[in-house]
Symmetry: C2
Subunit: 416 residues, 2 copies
C-alpha cells in the first residue's frame, strides 16, 4: 500500500556534519524486488581505525539473531567496532538456525573483504518477523560490492535504506566544541510502528568523531536512552530487533574522554542526548497513521519511575489515543489511565492540564472547567497532557501520537 | 453517533428463568435527555428477604464513589443485600465530594422508601467519567417511583437500562437441580469498551434463588471472576467502575450451602461459572467495533499466571488486533508479543497454531508452513490463536476481539 506522509515530516532531510574516521555505502540488494519495488535496502559503515562503540538492545525474549550477535560481539570485542551492516525487508527474527547461518555468512564476508575481526562487526535487520532467508549468504554476497563503493556517507541514502513503514528518512546532527576541538555528531533512525519504551522499537545509529572510553560511553548511552528512545511510545508494542548503537571514531584528533570528571564530558553527553532526543521524537512524529504529537508530563509522583509508569499508561491507552485523534478532550479517560496504572496517587489532590488549561483539580473537575478551551487544545496538532499526582516530587515525560484510521490501515496491510 | 450492531449480536434477548425472592423495576430518569434521547437509564432490584451477596470491583486507584461505597457496604453489612440501584449516563467517578453526596442522597431514599438498612443497599453508575451531577438527589428523587413499580423483573429492560456503547443487551440464565431443588440463575451485563482483566471493565449482576453462606460465595466469585470476566480484554483499558455482584436470595427454599464439602456446591459453582462466562464472552463479542472474536490459548508456560500474562500481551497488542481485523495472518507479531511479555520461554521450542494450522515450530516458521491455510483461519469471524512456550505445564485462555475502524470512530465520538 502507498503510505501517506506524516503531517510532521520535515521539508527535507537535514544537512549532517562530516564525521571524520568513517566511510559508508548504501545499495539495493533486492529485498523488495518480489513486491516490484526497486529501492536501497542495505548499508555498510566501515571504521578504518577501530571506533569505540556502545549499544542498547530490545529486552524482548524473542530477540532477533542480529540482536543476539551484537550483544555477544559488544562483550567479546570490548566495545570496538570496524564495520556495521543493516538491511530492511527481512527482520531475521524467529528464523532459528537459518538466522544464525545468515549472520555467519555476512560476518565471514566482512572479515574477508575488510580484513577485520569478526567481533568488531555489528549487524541489524528489520522487516517482517519469521520469514527465513532462502539463501543464508544473501547479504554476505553483496558485501564486496558495498565495500568497493565505500566513501563519505550519503546520510540520507543510508537513512532511507533501512526504512520500512517510515514515511520520511530520519537524521539529526550537530557540531560542538569539545576542549577547543570541533567535534561532529550525526545520527540516523528508522521506526514508526511497534514502538514502545524498553528499547523503543527501532534501529538507530549515532556517529561521532570524538574519542571516549568504551565503558563510559556504554553507561552514558544507557542513561540517555532512558530519557529519549525509552520515553517514546506509538502503540505499546516492542520489537524483536530494537537497536541503538553509538560509534566514536576519534577522527577529530582529540585525546579520549576517560571519565565523567573530564571537562569535555558534559558537552559530549549533551550532544549525544540532543541527537538521540531529536531522532526519537522524529520516530514518534512518524508514528503509523499519526496526526497528533502529544507530550505526556507526569509530576508529583512517588518517584521518577512511578511517574514514567503513569505517563506510559496515559500514552498507551487506546481510549485516550482515539480521543486525541478525534480532538475530543475526554479528560475522564486520563483519570481512568492514572487509576489503572496502580501507582500511588492522592486522589483528592489529582490535577490535570491540557497545555495551560486546567481540567481537573482536587480530585474532581476543575471548578472553572471550560469545555471549549479544553477542546481547543485537543484540536491542535501538538499539545501537552500534564498530570500532578499529589504524592512526592517524581516526574517524567513521555512522547506519543494518536491512534487513527491510518494505523488500522497500515497494520492490516503491512505484509501484503 | 449511531452504533452499528455487533455481527455477534444474538437474534433476541435470551429467555431467563424466574428467580424467586426478588423484585425489580427499570425506568427513565432522563440522563440522556440532553442528547434528545428517551430511554431507560436506571434500575432497582429489591430483595424482600435479605439476599446473601458477594462482589468484586475494579482495582483502579481512581475507583468511582459507587465502587467505594459498595466495598464499604459489603464489609459493614456482612454480605447481606436488600436493594441495588444502577444507572447509566454518568459514571459518578472522579466527582469528588459531590459524588459521595449523590450516593448519600440515593441511599437515604432507599432506606426511607424500602425501610432497609443503608449497608444493605448497593449502587453502580456508568457513563462519562468526571461529569458532576448538578443535583445530588437526581437518582434518589426517582427511587419512590421505581419502588412503586417493583414487580417480576423484565430482564431485558434492566439489561438495556445500563447500556452505554453496548450494541445489544446481555443476559444469561439457567436452571439447575441442587439437592433435588430446582434453582435458577439469571444474570445481566453491560460493557463493550474500556475492557481488560483486573475486573474486566463492565457492570454485571447475577441473581440466584439458591441460599449460600456469604464467605463461601465471596471466595467462589473471586475464583470464577479470574476465569471469566478477568480473562477477557477488548482494549487493555480498565474502568473506574467495574463491578460484578452475585445475589443469592434463598427463594428456592432449600437450606443454605455452608461449605465446599456440601454435595450441592460443585453444581452451584458450575452454574455460576457458566453464567459469568456467557456474559463475559458477550461483552467481548460486543467489543467496540469488533468484527472478529478470538480465543487466545497459551500452554507450556512456567505457571498459570505466566500463561495468562503472555495471553494478555497477545490479546492486547494493537499490531495483532489490527492484523486480525484485516485477516492478515501475521504470526511474527505473535512472536513479538510473546517476547515483550518477558515471561519465561524456551525459544527453540516455541510453537504457534491458528486453529489447527501450525505456523511456527521449534523456534522458527513451521517447515510445512502454508500461508493460504493460515490466512483462511484469519479470514474467519471466530478463531483460536494457540501458543506453546515449551517451559512447564501452565496454561490459560483469554478472549478478545479485533481493533477496527469502528473502534476508532466510536471512541472519538463517545462524549458527543
Amino acid at each position: 500500500m502507498k503510505l501517506t506522509p506524516s503531517p510532521f515530516a520535515p521539508q527535507s532531510f537535514p544537512s549532517l556534519p562530516e564525521v571524520k574516521g568513517l566511510r559508508a555505502a548504501a545499495g539495493s540488494r533486492g529485498f523488495y524486488a518480489r513486491r516490484g519495488i526497486v529501492r536501497d535496502d542495505v548499508f555498510l559503515f566501515a571504521f578504518p581505525d577501530a571506533a569505540t562503540c556502545a549499544g542498547v538492545y530490545t529486552v524482548s525474549n524473542t530477540a532477533s539473531a542480529d540482536v543476539r550477535w551484537c550483544r555477544q560481539a559488544l562483550k567479546a570485542g570490548g566495545g570496538k567496532a570496524r564495520a556495521l551492516v543493516a538491511h530492511s525487508g527481512n527482520s531475521n527474527a524467529f528464523t532459528g538456525p537459518k538466522g544464525v547461518e545468515k549472520n555467519e555468512a555476512t560476518l565471514a564476508a566482512l572479515t574477508t573483504v575488510l580484513g577485520v575481526a569478526k567481533e568488531a562487526c555489528f549487524l541489524a535487520a528489520t522487516g517482517v518477523i519469521g520469514e527465513p532467508l532462502q539463501d543464508p549468504n544473501f547479504v554476505g554476497a553483496f558485501v564486496p560490492e558495498l565495500a568497493a563503493r565505500l566513501g563519505p556517507p550519503d546520510w540520507e541514502a543510508c537513512a532511507r535504506a533501512f526504512m520500512t513503514t517510515d514515511t520520511f528518512p530520519k537524521g539529526s546532527g550537530r557540531t560542538v566544541e569539545l576542549g577547543g576541538v570541533s567535534t561532529a555528531f550525526a545520527g540516523i533512525a528508522k521506526g514508526s510502528g511497534m514502538i514502545m519504551p524498553n528499547m523503543a522499537t527501532m534501529l538507530s545509529y549515532v556517529f561521532t568523531d570524538a574519542a571516549i572510553a568504551p565503558d563510559l560511553l556504554q553507561g552514558l548511552l544507557e542513561q540517555v536512552t532512558n530519557e529519549t528512545f525509552n520515553s517514546i511510545t506509538v502503540d505499546g508494542d516492542t520489537s524483536t530487533s530494537d537497536t541503538l548503537m553509538v560509534f566514536a571514531t576519534g577522527g577529530a584528533g582529540a585525546p579520549p574522554i576517560m571519565s565523567r570528571e573530564d571537562a569535555r564530558f558534559p558537552a559530549f553527553a549533551a550532544a549525544l542526548h540532543a541527537t538521540c532526543l531529536d531522532l526519537a521524537l522524529q520516530v514518534v512524529k512518524d508514528g503509523e497513521g499519526a496526526s497528533k504529537f502529544v507530550t505526556v508530563r507526569v509530576e508529583g509522583a512517588a518517584s521518577q519511575h512511578s511517574a514514567k509508569v503513569v505517563a506510559c499508561h496515559i500514552a498507551n491507552s487506546p481510549l485516550i489515543k482515539t480521543a486525541m485523534a478525534a480532538g475530543d478532550a475526554n479528560w475522564g479517560r486520563v483519570v481512568m489511565a492514572v487509576g489503572k496504572s496502580l501507582e500511588p496517587i492522592v486522589m483528592d489532590d489529582l490535577a490535570i492540564w491540557f497545555d495551560d488549561v486546567q481540567v481537573a483539580k482536587g480530585g474532581a473537575r476543575a471548578p472553572d472547567y471550560d469545555e471549549a478551551a479544553a477542546s481547543a487544545v485537543f484540536a491542535k496538532p501538538e499539545f501537552t497532557i500534564r498530570v500532578h499526582l499529589g504524592v512526592e516530587a517524581g516526574a517524567a515525560t513521555v512522547w506519543t501520537c494518536d491512534l487513527t484510521h491510518g494505523y488500522v490501515d497500515i497494520n492490516g496491510a503491512y505484509r501484503t
